[in-house]
């Protein structure tokens, strides 16, 4: 049995600094973050669906809740989470079937995901504000 503890120390140089995170990495971690946000937001979404379909007054109540500025901010954040998660997910589906796997294309598609979800969120945000 070789003595593993006596093995000389190997150099470690894993630079995991967020400042060094390439764009596809940022899209990836935001995919995870947005997924968790959507999971947590599920209760609010179901509550509003329940209220809005329950009765005429429930519908008005739900619409009233969504008129508050804080609610609008939360809705916009949720829309961004949904759009980012969806765009990044679609990119993933392409990568899964070997489309766009070169470094150059992968970086470009990551950029596209980022811009597309932000632009769509912005266009919806100005409409609901």
């Amino acid at each position: 049995m070789p003595d593993l503890t006596a093995k000389k120390k190997r150099p470690l140089w894993y630079n995991l600094s967020p400042l060094n995170l390439p764009l596809p990495g940022l899209v990836s971690i935001l995919h995870r973050v947005s997924g968790v946000v959507l999971f947590l937001g599920l209760i609010a979404f179901l509550y509003l669906l329940d209220l809005s379909l329950a009765s005429e007054s429930g519908y008005a109540q739900a619409a009233g809740l969504l008129r508050a500025p804080i609610a609008k901010l939360l809705v916009i954040a949720s829309i961004w989470a949904l759009l980012h998660h969806m765009c990044a997910g679609i990119r993933h589906l392409f990568l899964d079937v070997d489309i766009g796997t070169s470094l150059r294309t992968a970086r470009r598609s990551a950029f596209a995901v980022f811009i597309a979800s932000l632009a769509l969120t912005a266009s919806i945000a100005v409409r609901i504000w």
Partner: protein, 113 residues
């Protein structure tokens, strides 16, 4: 040649595949929803939309997809960050219970109309 000694494991393929299939279903639902949602929004239009049989069918599939998709995703998150086995198990069980409960709630909302 790779000679695998450990056999019988699924190596996560089923979950991986389920994650993709449910993703496609949810994208499909989103597209349909964007086409059929009532404009301008009103209670009557909103209710009429979800009162249709095919819409309930589609929404049921959406709920089932969210349940499976969110479970796999959240399980991956717990597996990555929660190292304590007991705590991780508790969180995984809580996630399943929560998601199944939410799915039941969604069904109740839809079939009450």
């Amino acid at each position: 040649m790779v000679n695998r000694i450990i056999v019988g494991a699924h190596y996560g393929l089923k979950d991986w595949l389920a994650q993709r299939i449910t993703a496609l279903l949810m994208i499909g639902y989103t597209v349909i929803f964007l086409v059929v949602w009532p404009r301008p929004m009103s209670y009557a239009g909103w209710k009429a939309l979800f009162a249709q049989g095919w819409m309930r069918f589609a929404t049921f599939l959406l709920v089932a997809s969210v349940l499976i998709h969110a479970w796999i995703g959240m399980r991956n998150v717990w597996m990555d960050y929660v190292k304590h086995t007991g705590l991780r198990l508790a969180l995984e069980v809580a996630t399943i219970l929560w998601l199944v409960g939410c799915a039941g709630w969604a069904m109740q909302i839809l079939w009450r109309i």
